[in-house]
């Protein structure tokens, strides 16, 4: 009860609501992603107590993922990558004059899907954490590699580039004082680099500034956003009756979303596509893709449920499920919290409060999302030039605010340029963040493991859990190639 009262205190609830409003803004503007929203809000949360800070992060991520469906439905432009699948049927319904029904469905399914995701997180995470206590350096090393492999494989057909991106991230993580020997690596005499590359400025650069640079390339016409076409009324009653008819689609989507989200490197966008694909395959509804309600329910319930899923590996193993949780893990370390199985015993109260906040966010999502839909036309009236300039200055101040350091502004700029260049050659950026986060975990556990065994790599493969993880990595990396080869060689 005391934990619940702490959560609903004004110190936590007001920042949470403000963060959710910000989430609507970030999600509804095409080009601004939920990851960017979280990266921009972390510097603000840095000066708050960890609970309020994490509440804001949770609020932004859930709300932005939902709000991404708003332009997806009305304009055929996904507000966030996670809304890609929702675009298909949502926009078709919009064309039929049912855009508002589609959006009300989006809102309710996001909230219900998110709720299911959070309940699964609450049920799955604590027992998994008990199991994770059996992990030693050897297992954590493979777990880190597993996280990187998943990120690479799920890099939308860019497996090799995804892997290279992850390796570059790991390499960047080696900058700074070597923990074992105290020797400064790749610092080039720059004092500010002794602590390593500041994580938040790097994130802001990769996701905020690089996106701005990408978008300012568009001509004046492309920088403009088209106007809303649908002006029909929002109907909760009709939406509830539609959900009732397709309740199994919602439950299926939420479960798929949670479990896809729990895979390191997957995340809300992949979860939405997987759920949409499954629905299309198993449903008899031939209207999917042409304005079917199932086509709206399946991805929108999955993408919000996936956020609950991404928190499972993040909290249990300290391995981020996607780029958002990667940033959150960095923030948790800044708050002095150490994600991993021990967090369930050392900071049990905080974990419980996080669960309460996550549930609260789903409930608050309905009124705030409702207002978001209503005010969307106002947000769209802002020209892209204004929004992009605001992102540039929030990025600058956000990077500076963490340590009051001008050096971090330049770090942010460098990462912005790196992100911009890498995206130009189709190198995904998310694996780089995972590399940055997982790098120290992989290196420390590899080196400590090798020191323990006096340089013998054998125990890395002979212990049962290590071996299982190793086999899983091989299957993940080689599986798709193997199946495509089998398919090619199959006699016709």
């Amino acid at each position: 009860m005391n934990q619940f009262l702490q959560v609903i205190s004004p110190d936590v609830i007001i920042p949470l609501i403000l963060a959710m409003v910000f989430g609507v803004f970030v999600g509804a503007i095409p080009g601004l992603t939920a990851t960017m929203g979280v990266a921009l809000i972390i510097p603000i949360t840095y000066y708050m107590n960890p609970l309020a800070g994490l509440a804001m992060v949770l609020g932004v991520s859930f709300t932005a993922i939902f709000a991404g469906d708003i332009p997806a439905t009305f304009l055929r432009i996904p507000g966030t990558p996670a809304s890609g699948a929702a675009t298909l049927d949502g926009f078709e319904l919009s064309k039929k004059g049912k855009g508002s029904l589609a959006l009300t469905l989006d809102l309710l399914c996001s909230s219900l899907g998110g709720l299911i995701g959070v309940f699964l997180l609450i049920m799955v995470a604590p027992p998994m954490a008990k199991f994770a206590l059996k992990f030693t350096n050897f297992e954590y090393f493979w777990l880190g590699i597993f996280g990187l492999s998943m990120a690479a494989v799920l890099s939308k057909g860019n497996t090799i580039k995804g892997f290279v991106s992850a390796v570059i991230g790991v390499l960047i993580s080696t900058i700074g004082i070597d923990v074992t020997t105290g020797y400064p690596r790749f610092t080039f005499g720059i004092t500010e680099l002794m602590d390593g590359v500041s994580f938040i400025p790097a994130m802001i650069g990769l996701f905020g500034l690089s996106e701005v640079l990408k978008r300012v390339q568009l001509g004046s016409e492309n920088l403009e956003l088209p106007a809303i076409k649908d002006k029909s009324k929002l109907s909760i009653k009709e939406a509830f009756s539609s959900i009732g008819k397709h309740i199994f689609t919602l439950i299926r989507g939420s479960f798929i979303g949670t479990f896809t989200g729990a895979l390191p490197g997957a995340g809300a966008d992949i979860a939405a596509w997987v759920s949409y694909g499954v629905e299309k395959n198993i449903s008899r509804d031939k209207n999917i893709g042409k304005g079917s309600l199932r086509g709206v329910i399946a991805p929108t319930s999955a993408n919000n449920a996936a956020i609950g899923g991404t928190w499972i590996p993040a909290l249990v193993f300290g391995v981020p499920g996607d780029s958002i949780t990667a940033i959150v893990l960095g923030a948790m370390l800044m708050y002095g919290l150490r994600p991993g199985p021990l967090i369930f015993t050392e900071s049990r109260e905080l974990v419980n409060q996080l669960f309460i906040i996550a549930i609260l966010v789903q409930i608050l999502l309905i009124p705030i999302g409702w207002l978001g839909i209503k005010t969307f036309s106002l947000i769209l009236r802002l020209r892209s030039g204004i929004v992009l300039t605001a992102v540039v200055f929030f990025s600058i101040i956000g990077a500076y605010a963490i340590r009051n350091s001008f050096f971090d502004i330049y770090i942010m700029l460098i990462f912005g340029l790196i992100g911009y260049c890498l995206e130009k050659i189709s190198v995904p950026l998310a694996p780089m963040i995972l590399g940055l986060i997982l790098g120290p975990m992989i290196e420390d556990n590899l080196r400590v493991g090798l020191i323990k065994t006096k340089g013998n790599f054998g125990p890395f493969l002979s212990r049962p859990i290590s071996l299982i993880l190793f086999i899983m990595i091989i299957l993940i990396l080689a599986g798709p190639q193997f199946f495509s080869l089998m398919k090619k060689n199959r006699p016709k």
Binding site: V167, T180, V216, Q217, I425, S426
Partner: protein, 163 residues
């Protein structure tokens, strides 16, 4: 630039990066305890350099092969108008110029000047740019300086004038 050329450049950059990391990390000291050599500071970066070198060679060689095999491939160049290049450059410049500007004239004036210039460049009418960048400057000041008490530089020139 077509994809093959981009990949080849990517490969060459990776090779250069990995060679640099390999050579630079070889200057890191050895880690030995009681005469026994253990994985020291150079151990992990060297492994990463080796992996990146492999990928670099892969992209360079496959790029070269593709270029030789298909000389007639579509050399569609990404044409950027001068305006687009200016947009990108000014966005970068506004970050670079921020530090000297903020030290000289303080946060609010910096955001108004750089912000309205950037907005105008991004096709917002100049008077609207000034209004919106002023709102933005005040908003940022309220959030960071007043709410979170982050000391933002007030600017040498401004403090001189105030005194």
């Amino acid at each position: 630039m077509n994809t093959t050329t981009k990949d080849m450049i990517f490969g060459i950059v990776l090779v250069i990066l990995s060679v640099f990391v390999f050579i630079y990390s070889s200057t890191f000291p050895e880690f030995a305890v009681r005469g026994e050599r253990l994985p020291g500071p150079r151990f992990f970066p060297s492994i990463l350099a080796f992996i990146l070198f492999g990928f670099g060679i892969f992209y360079t060689v496959t790029g070269l092969i593709r270029l030789t095999l298909d000389k007639k491939q579509n050399r569609s160049m990404e044409k950027h108008s001068t305006r687009v290049v200016i947009n990108v450059l000014f966005s970068i410049m506004s970050v670079i110029l921020f530090v000297p500007f903020v030290n000289l004239i303080g946060l609010i004036l910096t955001i108004i000047i750089l912000g309205s210039s950037l907005m105008t460049l991004l096709y917002v009418k100049w008077y609207r740019s000034v209004i919106y960048s002023t709102i933005l400057a005040i908003l940022i000041y309220l959030i960071f300086q007043l709410l979170f008490k982050i000391p933002l530089p007030e600017g040498a020139l401004i403090s001189l004038l105030v005194r």
